[in-house]
Symmetry: C2
Subunit: 366 residues, 2 copies
């Protein structure tokens, strides 16, 4: 009679739901639940999982920090913010994490201005650990949902296409010519490209889901070969942990079935907390054979008038005056005025979508 | 008194001198001499060296086939065609190889029209095996000599530049835009590019040494970044053994200190003896970790009008009409008439050198 009241139900925040989802869909394999103290500590200190043989590499703690009252042995029902029942957590441990120590080891700073550090501080130190049971995956906006694949689904799709070498590209923004170039340079040595935008929480409000996805789709329709490109979504959230997060991004894509992963300059960085190449150098100490995915390191790329082609500081010898460079602010201003940037910077089809979206936005604001 | 007469002296053919040189300069490591029967057989049948622990991969027999009279224990002085004393061979074994079996296993054909098969038939079956002592390296034309590096020298040069990932490009021809593009795509994920033309015997008479080298040099001066490119020469000869030779080319570049090696379509192939991708597929069965160098597989590449950039069938979705294609014959005709091909096909600086060279040639012929 009192059974409904006695059921423990925790409504996950968007960030917690993001972790749940990657645990549930295979993106965080071999993890099968939220980490306990031993794993939390070994991840922070050694970047490995203590609970698994071979000291498997893991760069960022996946913990469920919450004030929710529960004790070891409890089964906690997990629901999304929209009330959807997702599954349950069997609590194996309740522990206090040292947030400063996590900040220092994982984020390399305890500065509250760092959005990742601010986020773990806001979450607090009390963590519930344990295996999860999965009932359903969280819902997403239609634009993301139509491209949704679990890790099993992406792996099957790659196999059906006969792809053996698959390079994944992590992105949070529309793809301009510079990133098109580096995805294509990587694709030249692979069989397939997996464009895998992150759709979990980021620090920016920025571009609406549908606009972002249509930017990818119009580019795929016009400038990528349909037999060699696929678009999925990564429900992960951003930590802005730079080097450590580059490793997490690589692990997630390994789990989605990719063999190569693009790591650019200052990958997953923010402000100037990390050196430009820290997110590439971290892989120097990692056996990528064991990691199961090969990182491909790229520089910033640009159109060069003298090369009459795309290049980087590694492949182009010409002075900066020959390089087409537009700042993010400048490009937003142009698009806001309805101007298309040069096609060597942004494909016209992508610019059109962004211009239209900005028009609608300013119309609804004005 | 009769000591001069009793000295055994073998004048090496150009092909034999090429093998001697790669044995001498480290390009054929871990080999330290010409193979005996056991290695010959295990290379033919299993693509491995029988004499070394770990069954080291080796794809093509390195044998000294000659009618020269010598027996086990003899020390044979080796000289180049120009009389230069190169060193000596201590004969450990004299054996008969089965030329047909070598043709069948290594070249996948016994057809005399295959230039590699024709070459081993011409050499004959009797082989002298044994370690070599090195006194000097063979001489080369000045254009090659000025870029000459032993494997120790190239490795030192890479280390001095701080390059950790070095991709090697094998070539026998001037580099047009298509190959410039793929070397640059490969360089985007590496630190340095080693342009490493093969300068030993090929089936073509073709382009003079100096012209070829100046084509590379003018391209490096104008379109590659000096801090990320280096030019050496590979004294190897061509076998036209397709897949097996792609593996040999990779091993040689590993020995020169490279970490990556570009393998294109029909690499080292001739006629239609090999499938388009055979030289890439052969690496499927090779543990590249053990091999010590990572092959990078490329398609044919071209300028696409609609992409406004270089691409391949993997990265460009547009129809053939959008692709700039000129046959080798067509390009030679244009150059012969003093016309420069479009810069999207051949850089003007390279075209100028080729036009000038063809003018001189026809003037000296006419």
């Amino acid at each position: 009679m009192a059974s409904a009241e006695s059921t423990l139900t925790l409504e996950l925040t968007s960030r917690q739901a993001s972790d749940f989802e990657l645990l549930a869909n295979g993106g965080f394999a071999p993890l099968d639940g939220f980490m306990g103290r031993a794993d939390w500590e070994s991840v922070c200190e050694q970047m490995t999982l203590s609970s698994l043989p071979g000291a498997e590499i893991w760069p960022i703690p996946i913990t469920l920090a919450t004030d929710f009252e529960a004790v070891e042995g409890d089964v906690v029902k997990l629901v999304a913010a929209n009330g959807k029942s997702l599954g349950s957590l069997t609590v194996s441990e309740v522990f206090e994490r040292d947030v400063d120590r996590e900040a220092e080891t994982v984020y390399r700073t305890t500065d509250d201005d760092h959005p990742g550090v601010a986020a773990i501080r806001a979450e607090g130190s009390r963590c519930l650990a344990g295996k999860i049971e999965v009932e359903a995956l969280p819902d997403h906006e239609e634009a993301f949902q139509r491209r949704y694949q679990t890790t099993e689904e992406s792996k099957r799709a790659f196999a059906e296409r006969g792809w053996k070498r698959i390079v994944a590209f992590q992105t949070r923004n529309p793809i301009h010519r510079a990133h098109e170039y580096l995805t294509k340079a990587a694709l030249e040595i692979c069989d397939g490209l997996y464009i895998h935008p992150l759709i979990g929480e980021t620090k920016q409000g920025d571009i609406p889901a549908d606009v972002r996805m249509r930017c990818y789709e119009v580019l795929m329709d016009n400038y990528y070969h349909p037999e060699h490109v696929m678009l999925g979504v990564n429900p992960g959230k951003m930590h802005y942990a730079g080097p450590r997060e580059a490793v997490l991004h690589a692990i997630i894509r390994r789990n989605y079935g990719c063999t190569h992963f693009i790591v650019g300059r200052d990958h997953a960085g923010v402000g100037d907390y990390y050196g430009t190449y820290d997110a590439q150098r971290i892989f120097d100490d990692i056996d990528t054979q064991t990691l199961g995915i090969t990182p491909l390191f790229f520089e910033h790329t640009f159109w060069c008038e003298e090369c009459e082609g795309m290049g980087s500081a590694k492949t182009c010898p010409h002075p900066q005056e020959s390089h087409l460079f537009l700042s993010g602010t400048k490009v937003r201003e142009m698009l806001g005025r309805g101007e298309t940037p040069p096609p060597e910077f942004t494909r016209e089809e992508v610019a059109d979508i962004l211009i239209e979206s900005m028009r609608k936005e300013s119309a609804s604001n004005g």
